[in-house]
Amino acid sequence: MRKILLVIQREYLTRVKKKSFWILTLIVPILLVSLYAIPIYLATNSLEVTHVAVVDETGLYNDFHSSDDIVYHYMDSFDTASVGNSDTVDVMLYIPRPRSGVVPTETFVYFKNDAPSPSVKSDMDRQCQDMLRNNILLDVYNINREDYDQIKNTSVKLHVQDLDTGESDFSGMKMAIGLVLSLLIYMAIFMFGTQVMRGVMEEKTNRIVEVLVSSLKPFQLMMGKVVGVALVGLTQFTLWIVLSGSIITAFTIANADTFDRARQQEQIQMLHSRGVSAEQLSSEMPNTDMQTEMVQGLLHIQYGTIAIAFLIFFILGYLLYSTLFAAVGAITESEQDNSQFVLPLTVPLLLVIILTPTLIEAPSGSLAMWLSMIPFTSPVAMMVRVPFGVPIWQIAASVGILLLTIIIAVWVAAKIYRTGILLYGKKITYKELWKWLRFKN
């Protein structure tokens, strides 16, 4: 036991001391935080205001609506000099009188310094078209603007809610989180699993193992490495969670307004679920914009449960794969000739990653359910499902199957490892491996 601890200590310290460990530790929280920050940024980014000066010689385009970030000012005449000198006008929109009696469809946009952003251009474009269309509707078809607006703005909004809890489902956010988590656990299992494999190969090809096996049993060496690397992984995750958590908390405080808005939205919806009538609701509820809804979704995810599930399935998935990777490392001497053994190990992981878009469409469907029971795919498949909520018995069954498979995998890997690490210059086949497994020792 003391020896296995020494091995764990060595495996852990040599890896944690590496620069690459710390680089990865910093990169992932930055990625996670940017995922979190984008909706907030979108919701709050109305600070840049573009002022558009409109010179309309036709009189048709007389109804530009200013928004938070695009403000339209009507001007009487086309005067580049006044625009050029003005600090407040960024863009000038000029609509000249058409030459003959045709419909005026030519518009000109002038800018200084920065070209108008795509959103400003599309806003001008859309509003121009609206106004033109309204005029045509009125003149030709005799439909007035209010009628048209009413027809055009008719929309249906789905408010999806859980009958028991009254919670909205925010499936979009859950999908995003499921995708990110499944990708993360896939990469983590693969990354740390291959680290174990490389470590074993290093010991074998450098013949360190010859020196070591006289001091301790191959099994101790293998499990020491597996556990040591697992601790490296857990350290990395802890650092990721702490770092991302503190950045996100800082972010939340800095953007308190946005979150307040999201919370208010939440309260209104809760009122509704307690039996407020639809008319009351529609009058109470301001038009929810998509960004606010996303922020609301962020507030709604059960981070604790997801983090625990992630840790459990990472540890189990890692144990399963890393012991098998250790066995592969023990029977190969170079990265080139181990593909015949590595490939079968990566296929189930790759398969489930390819299937995630399908799984996420039906996180409680039978495919998702079966993939989250098969031990070689369950860690990734479960991560897709967890944000949507998985019945406890399914999680228990999945964990149980995984544990059982791990025990078998450790037994198989230990047998292969023990024989493999001291064997050089011999190409090992599956037939040979089968012989080792049946060989009693």
Partner: protein, 314 residues
């Protein structure tokens, strides 16, 4: 006392036999040379002694007790194929290996510092292993092997890759350890070192022990009654009566050198008597076979007899 005894050890690998009925014993305070051609089964035997693999049949005893895991801390093993973690620091790595042998942190550090000083590598404690020359890495490996002061030391091809200076240092260290009471088993292809270091030998060929015993006894049993004689220069071609034949006669400006073989019935004194009548004898010495010759002769004749047996069998 016998530190290590193997009795009728057999080991089979899928498809071939590595050891057949191998009985070997290593006496306390002596150096046992384990000789044999490549693939004879030496490394397998060493691995069995180190509990790295188990024999299919037969028993191994350490100080009279059946060999168990608890004895491993009394054994120091320097494998033939040996390596170190390249990216680790020398001191850190030596500490790790020493502590795996059961030494406490303080003990390990104290002893390592002493040994590093002895081997003049104390400046390398904080260097990475990959910065060390091969010879220095081997010094580190040797230190780690003997650091826990085991009663039995096993060196598998210790001299391979050592330059003459380091090889000599190693030889002296092995003899010093022996004088301090350690028992040494060492396998080598370097027959000169066998003659210098070994007290006893075991020669394994094709999985079987074909020769074993004290080096001196073996050498005596392989003597061929051949003598080197140096005498004053003579132009005459020397010949003798029956029973004494001159194998070769050479000369330089002052001396004539004779290589003479005598029959078993004759004694060296008989030869001397015949010689003094004919030439002025300046020196007279029996030619004892070198270990190299004994090795080659034994292995070749063993292989031939095995082939003959096989052919008879057909």
């Amino acid at each position: 006392m016998e530190i290590l005894v193997t009795e009728h050890v057999e080991k089979n690998y899928s498809g071939h036999r590595a050891l057949t009925d191998v009985s070997v014993s290593a006496a306390e305070g002596r150096v046992l040379g384990l000789l044999g051609p490549n693939g004879a089964g030496k490394t397998t035997l060493i691995r069995i002694i180190n509990l790295i693999t188990a024999p299919d049949q037969g028993k191994v005893f350490f100080c009279g007790e059946p060999l168990k895991a608890k004895h491993i801390e009394h054994i120091g093993y320097l494998p033939e194929e040996r390596g170190l973690y390249k990216k680790m620091k020398v001191g850190e790595q030596a500490m790790y290996l020493a502590r795996l042998k059961g030494l406490s942190k303080n003990d390990a550090e104290q002893r390592l510092r002493q040994w590093f000083k002895r081997f003049e590598i104390d400046g390398w404690w904080n260097k990475k292993v990959e910065e060390l020359s091969k010879g220095m890495q081997q010094k580190v490996q040797f230190i780690v092997t003997v650091l826990h002061e085991p009663r039995l030391l096993i060196f598998d091809e210790p001299f391979s890759g050592f330059d003459p200076i380091n090889a000599n240092l190693l030889k002296e260290e092995i003899l010093r350890l022996k004088n301090n009471g350690a028992t040494v088993i060492f396998s080598t292809h370097n027959m000169a070192s066998v003659e210098e270091i070994c007290d006893d030998i075991v020669l394994i060929n094709k999985s079987k022990v074909v020769l074993s015993g004290r080096v001196n006894d073996i050498k005596n049993s392989f003597r061929k009654n051949i003598f080197d004689v140096r005498c004053h220069k003579t132009d005459e071609e020397i010949t003798f009566a029956d029973g004494i034949s001159v194998l070769s006669q050479t000369a330089d400006e002052l001396n004539t050198f004779l290589k003479i073989k005598i029959d078993n019935t004759l004694s060296p004194n008989d030869l001397l008597r015949s010689l003094v009548d004919r030439v002025d004898v300046l020196s007279f010495q029996e030619v004892l076979p070198s270990m190299n010759e004994i090795f080659i002769e034994t292995v070749t004749s063993n292989n031939q007899s095995q082939t003959a047996e096989k052919e008879e069998g057909i």
